[in-house]
Symmetry: C2
């Protein structure tokens, strides 16, 4: 946002302003420069921010004064209850994965990689170049910047075996993050209470997007090898669904990676039911001991709708993802994007493309693989040693999470609260289940800040579980 | 996007590659440097882009070669017709306002101001600063960056008369452009076929967003003074609607600005029906002979949902707008934003805030006012002189458009096509009507490129209309 020194001055002055009577004169710029050892430019910037916040008035040539706040009466918005009616979908609480956490806790909850895992130098250079280029002032086409469409198509093409038609750039719809992509896919293809099959457990954001689109979410049990083909076929038959949402590589939360064989079985079932597989390749850049091979690469008859995001691997500030989809389904999805937001900022697209086409990007991905491996192994070993009651059945070959089962009978929500009181934030597994959770699960993310504290975090989990009698 | 010289090399080489047999070796980097008088860095960048597009393979130490393209069979996606079913909403064609146009036409159609009307220097500097700041690598809160929320609240607060409670920063939800804001408002408050009253004519993007949200759009006639209060009250009573979408300042397309009196009448009707006014203040920064005074500033009981966008006045690349809404409606809208896209890029928010808090922003707005005035007056005068058949009943006090009526009986679509054949792009008025157009209208935008051609453009319109017998 603002550079750090002006933020500090803002914080300091805000405390002073709140206590001062309205009309009080602020110290002069010169005095503030001296007090904060900052440049006049920095002090002026802080004052502009405070003025924008309505806290002070600057009178040129006279001075800067604390603003008199209007006294407002408390408002009654009760009338809105009738106008708003009941919500169309049950509200889900905001996911734990989206919470910010103070610096002094041990954070196993986040859905985003820590800054040390991001290509900081590449991102900053890419944004700086974008600020000088044409993208800073122009409006790109609705489906995306052609060069970025080409890049996404090329990425999938490199995985396409001989004999399959690779996707073309025009099959690519650039979207502002994969959540927006999911929302559009579900709105465009499952609006009006149509059934959508989903692995259970699965990504909470996909459950949320499908519910908000008005779809009827139907859970299909899925484990470390992916969904059970028999259950999947049965669900298609029972519901008449035309959509199956899944994560064949490093599923969030379980870390599952489907075998080639399982992928073929699922594709066969999807084809047989004239349906779409929505393949969410969210962890494409997060392979550790294997690499992610998209199923979409070996299906060229339009049955796979493929999502690939750059937000998590490039930067949370670069909201860029792609939906790759062939046939009329593409038009249906593009129409929804047009109604929702018309186009994606060209600066975002330029910065994303710049980052991933630098030679440094491949270097970064190789280093990232090693960092994730160390972190995953450290957390898994720490749990084995200090919290053996936290059972990780499957150490994943990629992704950012361990999916762990607590002893039978553990009250997960209470456990999560107790961990937080002890300074460790974890996410209850229930968030990843479309319906009731299948057991007392938690998700532990190993991509957060300060891996040096993983061992201590594991110790806390172990001691809290040790304190409670096993309720079985 | 890419800098211009590498784009030129890409274009040149692509033509060469398409004609060359697969496996052909490209000229060496040194040869390309000489041929294009470009730096080795620029040539390397061009080669990376071509590699990303799948057109060439680089073999380090050996050379760069034209890639063998896989031969693909034509695919049949006919099976999707059954899976997709009929669309939920009738497809509207993409608006003329979103079309890009070649440089050699006279463009009266665009919805976006020409680059010469944008604060280019401020935007580039703001993006450059954002690339160095914390925003480039962090994830902001779901409702927006607090400083930007404060700025939006402050803007509305400066227009708030004594005795009214001003909005607070927490009433502000930052969204990635006003189209996204509209989509969320309609989805959150009018999903499930609920009626939404709209001025007729009105902004096509709002009609689109409401239709896609599943709302039932009910037109209320509106002219240069705003909607007829009697018709508005009747529409509320007939439909039981709880939502009225309107543009009280410089409405798109008519340019109407409501009087204080008319605003009070509308607010009174809205309150009496326990309803929301969705105030789209899209042209807040485009006042010419008056300024935009938001109705939202004089309503503090939660009946006005206020939208303010920065995309059009700052840059089409800065997708930032705000929805200011009090009471539980805010939570409903924020929940929809969470499901749709989780949060807005911090880089976009930082760059927007930086731009509008620079001293140069106010200077820019003053200059913009004069530029818009000249352009508006030039177009209006050119029409009077060279195309008197194009009747502009109301020259607006702000905004970007003239709304003009053609002679009765004119076939508008045919006229638009004939203009385009003669090198002038205009938009048929029908795009701005929720139902059938009330007459043969066109919208002429005076914020496009090259105002020097306005007179010639008017001459073309006049001569085409002169050629046809008046069909009355």
């Amino acid at each position: 946002m603002s550079n750090d020194s002006s933020s500090q001055i803002v914080t300091g002055l805000r405390d002073w302003i709140v206590k001062a009577p309205p009309g009080s004169r602020l110290p002069s710029t010169r005095a503030l420069v001296a007090e904060h050892s900052a440049s006049p430019v920095t002090v002026q910037k802080a004052l502009r921010i405070l003025a924008a916040q309505g806290l002070i008035d600057s009178r040129p040539g006279v001075g800067t004064f604390v603003r008199a706040l209007r006294t407002a009466q408390p408002s009654d918005y009760g009338w809105q209850s009738a106008a708003l009616r009941s919500p169309q979908f049950p509200a889900r609480p905001v996911s734990t994965a989206m919470r910010s956490a103070p610096n002094d806790v041990i954070a196993f909850h986040s859905g985003y990689p820590d800054r040390e895992l991001l290509p900081e130098r590449l991102v900053r250079a890419a944004l700086a170049r974008a600020s000088r280029g044409d993208a800073a002032l122009s409006r790109p086409p609705a489906a995306g910047v052609p060069e970025l469409q080409s890049w996404f198509a090329h990425e999938l093409r490199t995985a396409t075996p001989a004999g399959f038609a690779p996707p073309t750039p025009s099959d690519v719809v650039v979207v502002p993050g994969s959540q927006s992509g999911l929302s559009s896919v579900f709105r465009a293809l499952a609006g009006g209470s149509q059934p959508v099959l989903m692995e259970s457990p699965t990504y909470w954001g996909a459950i949320l997007a499908a519910s908000h689109a008005g779809a009827d979410v139907v859970p299909v049990p899925s484990g470390p090898d992916g969904p059970d083909p028999v259950e999947l076929a049965r669900a298609f038959e029972e519901t008449g669904a035309r959509l199956f949402y899944a994560q064949p590589n490093y599923a969030n939360p379980t870390g599952a990676q489907w075998s080639h064989q399982r992928g073929e079985e699922v594709l066969e079932i999807v084809r047989r039911h004239g349906a779409f597989l929505i393949e969410d390749d969210w962890a494409h850049d997060f392979g550790i001991s294997t690499s992610a091979v998209p199923l979409a690469a070996r299906e060229d008859s339009g049955h796979v709708i493929y999502l690939r995001s750059l937000t998590k691997s490039v930067s949370p500030a670069i909201r860029v993802a792609a939906v790759i989809v062939r046939g009329p389904a593409r038009d249906r999805i593009l129409t929804d994007r047009g109604a929702e937001s018309m186009y994606v900022s060209g600066v975002m697209q330029a910065a994303a493309l710049d980052t991933v086409t630098q030679p440094g990007w491949q270097t970064h991905l190789r280093a990232l693989r090693h960092q994730l491996q160390s972190r995953r192994d450290l957390l898994a070993a720490s749990l084995r040693q200090h919290a053996p009651q936290v059972h990780v059945a499957h150490v994943p070959h990629g992704g950012l999470n361990l999916w762990a089962r607590l002893p039978d009978g553990t009250e997960v929500d209470r456990f999560v609260r107790e961990c937080e009181s002890a300074g460790v934030i974890i996410a209850a597994g229930s968030e990843w289940f479309p319906a009731e959770p299948a057991g007392p699960f938690v998700r532990l993310n190993y991509a957060g800040p300060n891996p040096g504290a993983f061992e201590e975090g594991a110790r806390v989990l172990g001691s809290i579980l040790g304190d409670r009698p096993n309720a079985r």
